[in-house]
């Protein structure tokens, strides 16, 4: 009996100690500075004007909030809005704002701020034209906004939730600014405020002590209940990938974005570091120039599509690390299960040189050079182009690689001449309505009335299963008309020091609900 008691006591003490130890090891703690090494600096911090570039968005999501945002499953969730109603004809949106949400200057956000922000966004932001369909924005009281549309826009909430450019709610007095707003005037309602911005040296964010978290929604994706544990976040641009790796290993940086895949083994062997896979990250596509002799012929485009072996391409691009790529036919990734589809799989990743040659022989191709435009700023684009060149040479195409830099590539693809095919990457669209590569205004200059019709329907429709159907049709048409070739998805390696706790990779780095564990 005595022995049993002693054993019981011993066991309970042990359990308490172990659990207590675990608790101490993982308990969220306030304080500390997080040094974040990013690939480039934000040219401006204004979320409306500069919000399409990754570097600005990475900082903006900590400083600003919108009316709605996305959770980790890509659903729209309310952020500054408490609840809302949509009239039956889908023309009137009544939004009730959360109360007592302060800006970084202490002033409480009101419906006037929302109205001014929406109006500014319409004027200055990419895609702001969608608000041209808004007849009126009324503010009957400080916490109610009534938006009336001319025609139903089924995806209107996704517009309000758009993180790219972020539809941030700024103080009403900034509403008239048509030029980029800069700190210290630039303030929002987010968990962090901008302390200092020094061009391309660093941006320092500090915790906003009076931040009002959204208690109604659990933290997920870009929204929900955010807690700023870390006192200060420093975003430091470190352009050399090798320097980012070294800085992580020496402890100069606490979190590092976009690491070369070849550094994975070193990081995994290091007990002080932890690695993450950012998934999905880039969708690689090869757009055709539909004004060029090659790109304008459907059979030619099909021959190239059927010839390509995506497994080989992606394997080369990601140096054989097969956790870091996925060959699949969907223009929307499997992670976006609502929009992902395998339609067109019979044309994808065929690597069928024989069929490609047969298609080509009927075209009377006589060794005319085919210009494949690429750049060396984005290594994955360059490496993709190298394999494409190789695979197309095997079916007898005379492919010449035109190598430039990124600004060069974007300038040259605007031209009708001088290129036939190029390689580019797109980051994730949280809603397929934001997809641009199939549209007539994209630089492929592929203009199909059917496609334009589908694109419009996709934006106007609000019913999810109807939209699913529309995006399947878009994908099917894309495989039949081949405006662009889907190559596949590649993922990105990120890493942090082991004491950075609570971080998870998703879409863009998020440092709220992340803390520095005591060593």
């Amino acid at each position: 009996m005595f022995n049993n008691k002693l054993a019981y006591l011993f066991l309970t003490t042990l359990i308490t100690l172990v659990l207590g130890g675990l608790f101490i090891a993982t308990a969220q703690t306030y304080g500390g500075t997080l040094k974040v090494a990013m690939t480039t600096n934000p040219p401006e911090l204004d979320p409306h004007i500069q919000g399409t570039s990754d570097s600005t968005r990475q900082i903006a999501v900590h400083v600003f909030e919108g009316l709605f945002t996305y959770d980790e499953e890509y659903n729209v969730i309310p952020q500054l809005v408490e609840d809302w109603t949509v009239s039956e004809d889908e023309l009137i949106y009544t939004l009730n704002l959360r109360t007592g949400v302060p800006f970084h200057n202490g002033e409480i956000m009101t419906s006037e701020d929302v109205k001014a922000s929406l109006e500014r966004y319409r004027e200055v932001a990419e895609g702001g034209q969608i608000f041209d369909g808004v007849i009126s924005i009324e503010t009957p009281d400080a916490t109610t906004v009534i938006i009336t549309l001319e025609e139903p826009i089924g995806t209107f909430l996704t517009v309000l939730a758009n993180p790219r450019p972020l539809l941030a709610i700024l103080p009403a007095k900034l509403g008239d600014a048509r030029e980029p707003i800069r700190p210290p005037e630039l303030i929002g309602t987010g968990p962090y405020k901008i302390i200092e911005w020094r061009g391309d040296e660093y941006v320092r964010l500090g915790r906003f002590d009076d931040y009002a978290p959204n208690e109604l929604v659990e933290a997920s994706g870009l929204g929900g209940k955010k807690i700023a544990y870390i006192d200060e976040i420093q975003f430091i641009p470190v352009r050399e990938a090798g320097t980012r790796v070294a800085g992580l290993e020496t402890g100069d940086y606490d979190y590092v974005a976009a690491l070369p895949i070849t550094s994975l083994d070193r990081i995994e062997e290091n007990n002080n570091l932890q690695s993450y896979i950012l998934k999905p990250r880039w969708r690689i596509i090869a757009p055709f120039n539909h004004k060029s002799p090659v790109g304008s012929q459907l059979e030619f485009r099909r021959a190239i599509q059927i010839a390509l072996d995506m497994d080989e391409i992606l394997q080369f691009v990601m140096s054989g690390y097969d956790d870091f790529y996925l060959a699949h036919p969907g223009f929307f990734p499997p992670e976006q299960s609502v929009w992902h589809s395998d339609v067109g799989a019979e044309y994808y990743n065929q690597g069928n040189a024989q069929e490609a040659k047969e298609l080509l022989s009927s075209l009377g191709y006589k060794d005319e050079p085919i210009k494949l435009l690429t750049n060396r700023d984005y290594d994955f684009m360059y490496r993709t182009a190298l394999v494409i060149q190789n695979q197309l040479q095997e079916i007898g195409l005379n492919v010449e690689l035109e190598v430039t830099d990124w600004p060069g590539q974007t300038a040259l693809t605007r031209e009708d001449d001088g290129w036939d095919l190029t390689v580019t990457g797109s980051s994730l669209r949280l809603d397929p309505g934001a997809e641009t590569v199939f549209g007539c205004r994209y630089y492929t200059k592929y203009c199909s009335e059917t496609m334009e019709g589908f694109i419009l329907q996709g934006i106007q429709e609000s019913n999810v299963s109807t939209r699913q159907n529309i995006y399947r049709k878009i994908q099917e048409l894309a495989y039949n008309d081949v405006p662009v070739i889907m190559i596949g998805d590649i993922y990105e390696l990120e890493a942090s020091q082991i004491f950075v706790q609570g971080f998870s990779s998703w879409y863009t780095p998020r440092f709220w609900n992340v803390w520095i564990a005591n060593e």
Partner: protein, 296 residues
């Protein structure tokens, strides 16, 4: 000079809108940016506008840094000057003794080995040496910080340790050049009559080498220092990028990549001015080392 810079940077296809709007921004987003920045004006108009403002001391506004170019240059100049001065010191401290040493042992194995190292120094590209030093001294041994910059006024020790690896990277190849110059110049002087006379008078060893031979041999070396200063400033473009030092070189490289025209033009103009000034100082130094040279 300014026309050449302007023409060259505009001759490369692409403009800032591509980089500014983001990697997968639509053509519309880029047009919006282009319009906002006034890049839709004809090139001669853009050049004349820039020239007019520059003559008034206004170098314009950086497209990517959200600040006036002059301010950006002012913020970054200390880092680049620190790096250049330290690199020059490194190259002189290594190069001159190595050259004298080699000359003393001319034709023997000591000379041969040193000149081999010098050849190596001249052949290794800066970025390769830099990355090697980062991984060996920074990551593997953990002895030195691997870059970034601490201002001299903040902490002189940290300023020095942060700049040591980059300064060595940049200075090493120039040390090799100086060593070779010093060696050949010393060898030439050692065969001259006055050295023989000095020897005959019983002057030997260090005194002969440093007081007599070196003072005469240093003139061609000083000429090289002028060239080296220009090369060092050019070298900062690469070394600053590798070591993430926010200096003028890093600024210009990024500006070229992103077509930040005002920064490229301002930066190149500044570097050109510095090179001219350094060469002016060198000309004045000649007169000091060789009293026969006089400027009337």
């Amino acid at each position: 000079m300014s026309i050449a810079t302007f023409a060259l940077i505009h001759a490369i296809p692409g403009d800032p809108a591509a980089a500014l709007a983001g990697v997968d921004a639509s053509p519309e987003a880029q047009d919006r940016v282009r319009q906002r920045l006034g890049l839709d004006e004809p090139l001669p108009v853009q050049y004349l506008l820039w020239l007019r403002n520059t003559l008034k001391g206004d170098f314009g506004q950086s497209i990517f840094l959200g600040r006036p170019v002059l301010q950006v240059i002012y913020d970054r100049l200390p880092a680049t000057l620190s790096l250049a001065v330290l690199s020059l010191t490194v190259s002189l401290l290594i190069g001159i003794p190595a050259g004298i040493f080699s000359a003393t042992f001319a034709g023997r194995w000591q000379d041969f080995s040193l000149m081999m190292i010098a050849m190596l120094g001249l052949s290794i590209p800066d970025f390769a040496l830099g990355l090697f030093l980062i991984f060996y001294f920074g990551v593997h041994l953990g002895l030195l910080p691997i870059g970034s910059y601490v201002p001299l006024t903040n902490d002189i020790g940290a300023w020095f340790t942060h700049l040591l690896l980059p300064a060595f990277t940049l200075g090493f190849s120039q040390a090799a050049l100086i060593a070779r110059m010093t060696r050949s110049s010393m060898l030439e002087v050692m065969n001259l009559d006055f050295v023989r006379t000095a020897r005959a008078k019983g002057i030997h060893g260090i005194e002969l080498l440093l007081k007599h031979a070196f003072m005469a041999a240093v003139i061609p070396v000083i000429t090289v220092i002028g060239t080296i200063a220009a090369v060092l400033l050019g070298g900062t473009f690469i070394v600053e990028t590798v070591f993430a030092i926010p200096g003028i070189g890093d600024m210009v490289v990024n500006a070229i990549k992103r077509r930040d025209y005002p920064v490229v033009q301002g930066g190149i103009l500044l570097v050109a001015t510095i090179v001219i000034l350094v060469n002016l100082v060198i000309d004045i130094l000649y007169a000091y080392f060789d009293p026969r040279i006089q400027y009337s």
